[in-house]
């Protein structure tokens, strides 16, 4: 009989080895799946796990895909640390893109260095305000923020559909429910910063905010209060932490981060607002936050690995004729293994001897 026993301290060794174990397990089980489908497992795994990180072109796309995931996950992780469960980042991402995008579309003929910062500000505000709805309802009415924020995702999805169909539609677009392209319009296109890795101004902003989050959690009093609230709400209350403030701050930060991510996606990658603008980044980022164990460095790594499998998955489709669904299964499996192996950090497996 096996039994789990809590470790007195989280294992430092396991912290670093469990992700490797999980990836190895994914490779083995995934390899079996690929063999069953008649696909060379070594080639498939090379394309999914190695190629995205060695091929120069793939590398130049890495942060295009990873940045929004990391930025959103960073914001979410601060809330998760405090036990504030915002799972509506997808909605905040969309609302941020709408708010920032609307500014850009309204000032279409204007040029100026301040335009993109202004749009970013609008996006952060849009996302944060959208996140304030669950915050206020939580503080004032004790409404569960998981559920409210999730409901608001659907509202946001319908809202962007209405916007793309209505006021934000490109008047010269032959009636298609799509906005003008902000990425292919110089004043509103994000400039490149470190293109070899696909880092544009949005990616740079993401890295700065990630460093700030690290600082907040490690050094700042607010970070301490956030962590304390998550670990022991009672102790936090004794320490004079006002739970309402923590809820508002956490949702505000995560909403603003998701909103900015939405704008960076709009002005750096997607270009246009349409009903299909949200690609599920807000949900995937939740997984990234947990895979990164809610730490800034972990999130950075998790975001990069997941982005790699997206990029590799596309390659595997046309190189090996791997169906898109097989890539999805593979990713799902990797997430399961990563989540499952995590237990070894805080627990160890003990063999129980039968009592004599």
């Amino acid at each position: 009989m096996l039994r789990l026993e809590q470790r007195p301290q989280p294992s430092g060794l396991m912290l670093y080895t469990t992700p490797i174990m999980a990836v190895l397990a994914t490779m083995i089980v995934g390899g079996v799946l690929f063999i069953a489908m008649g696909i060379n497992p070594f080639k498939a795994i090379y394309l999914l796990f190695i190629d995205p990180f060695v091929d120069p072109y793939n590398l130049s796309q890495l942060f295009v895909k990873a940045s929004p995931l990391i930025l959103i996950a960073m914001g979410l992780s601060i809330g998760f640390r405090a036990g504030v469960w915002n799972i509506g980042a997808e909605g905040q991402f969309i609302m941020g893109a709408i708010a920032g995008g609307a500014v850009g579309l309204a000032l279409w003929d204007v040029e100026g260095w301040w335009l993109l910062p202004l749009m970013t500000l609008a996006a952060a505000l849009g996302g944060a305000l959208w996140a304030m709805i669950p915050a206020v309802l939580k503080i004032r009415f004790n409404a569960n923020e998981i559920l409210v924020s999730l409901m608001l995702v659907y509202v946001a999805e319908n809202f962007i559909a209405a916007m793309a169909q209505g006021p934000l539609r490109d008047p010269n677009g032959f009636g298609r429910p799509v906005s003008k392209n902000l990425e292919r319009h110089d004043p509103t296109s994000l400039p490149d910063v470190f293109p070899a890795l696909g880092i544009d101004a949005g990616g740079l902003m993401m890295l700065i905010l990630l460093a700030l989050a690290f600082f907040l959690l490690q050094k700042h009093a607010l970070g301490f209060q956030i962590k304390l609230t998550g670990e022991s709400p009672r102790a936090a209350r004794f320490a004079g932490v006002r739970p309402g403030v923590i809820v508002a701050v956490c949702l505000g930060i995560s909403g603003a981060a998701a909103g900015m991510a939405g704008l960076f996606e709009l002005t750096g990658a997607a270009g246009t607002l349409s009903a299909d603008f949200g690609l599920g980044y807000g949900f995937t980022a939740i997984i990234v936050a947990f895979l990164g164990r809610l730490t800034p460095v972990g999130i950075l790594l998790a975001g990069v690995v997941l982005a790699g499998t997206y990029i590799g998955g596309e390659n595997a489709q046309f190189v090996l004729k791997l169906p898109a669904a097989a890539v999805t299964v593979f990713q799902g499996m990797m997430l399961f293994f990563l989540l499952g192996f995590e237990i070894l950090i805080n627990y160890r497996v003990k063999r129980l001897r039968r009592a004599a």
Partner: protein
């Protein structure tokens, strides 16, 4: 505008059909949440049910066996979630999302050779004499068996949760898992069972889509119903009968939107489609504002892991 051609009876029959997959998935998720577990993988389990049900029905030529296969499929895939969250203590939100991703992928792989096939038809439960009655016949006696089953299931869940000891224990695990454990109950096992029940219900809901509502298999055909089911549980304040109300209201809004258009009335689809979610939030707020009432409904341990350290 001439509303006379809008038959309420016909609309109710339609809305019940649209609501039943949501109802089935939601009543399962309700039990899961009552046990203190939040499984966001409903969409994944539904699509697995849709494809399993379809495959079994086509190969055995029996829609009933198909439904059974769907329940088994949904329950089996939910076990992945159960093992991870109950025994490996992984985060429920993240695991549920991963389950949806995984389910959508697996279902597409499984169903790839079943495109373009018509499954055997589900018989309608026509009761001799009764089904031909005006209004009443069409309203109550001319549905497919799954619709009756779904209502029986709601009653069974209500009875189980409120009138049986086992139901009390399940609620206790969701309310205060430490206390339930201290009383000698195996919280993990109870939750494991609840999760599998939720998986079976979601699978059944998925198969209702692929075998009854739109008898066909196409990739991604549940198109977000699982997420709506999650909303309905909240809307229902974790009360079984209110799940029926919520699911039927949601189905009603969908059908009304389409029927009004068929009548020639223009409506803005996007804004109308938002309303169920906004209403859900309002209901949640009203319910939560009264803390005494809220504590009677929302499981206090929802979404938290439990590990018996002693």
């Amino acid at each position: 505008m001439d509303f006379s051609s809008l038959s309420p009876v016909a609309m109710i029959v339609l809305l019940v059909g649209a609501a039943t997959p949501i109802l089935l998935a939601a009543i399962g998720e309700l039990v899961v949440e009552k046990a203190g577990v939040l499984n966001l993988g409903v969409e994944g389990m539904m699509i697995i049910g849709a494809v399993c049900g379809f495959i079994v029905a086509v190969n055995t030529d029996s829609p009933m066996l198909g439904l059974l296969g769907a329940m088994v499929g949904g329950a089996v895939v939910s076990m992945l979630f159960a093992v991870l969250t109950q025994y490996l203590l992984s985060n429920q939100v993240a695991t549920g999302l991963a389950l949806t991703l995984f389910g959508l992928g697996i279902a597409a792989l499984m169903g790839s050779s079943y495109n373009g096939i018509r499954p055997p038809r589900m018989v309608r439960l026509d009761v001799e004499g009764l089904s031909d009655l005006p209004v009443v016949g069409k309203l109550f006696f001319s549905h497919d068996p799954v619709i009756y089953l779904s209502l029986v299931l709601v009653f069974a869940v209500w009875y189980f949760l409120n009138r049986t000891r086992a139901g009390l224990v399940l609620r206790a695990s969701g309310e205060n898992h430490d206390a339930a454990h201290a009383l000698g109950y195996n919280v993990q096992l109870i939750r494991f069972g609840a999760i599998m029940f939720g998986g079976a219900c979601a699978g059944l809901g998925g198969a209702y889509v692929s075998l009854v509502r739109v008898p066909q298999w196409t990739e991604g055909m549940t198109a977000g119903v699982g997420w709506i089911a999650l909303a309905i549980v909240v809307f229902a304040a974790w009360k079984p009968w209110r799940v029926v109300l919520g699911a039927y209201m949601f189905g009603g809004i969908t059908i009304l939107q389409l029927s009004l258009q068929a009548l020639g009335i223009s409506i803005s689809g996007a804004y109308l489609s938002m309303t169920p979610y906004i209403v859900t939030i309002v209901v949640l707020v009203i319910m939560s504002a009264d803390r005494k009432k809220a504590s009677l409904n929302a499981p206090a341990c929802l979404g938290t892991s439990f590990h018996a350290s002693h």
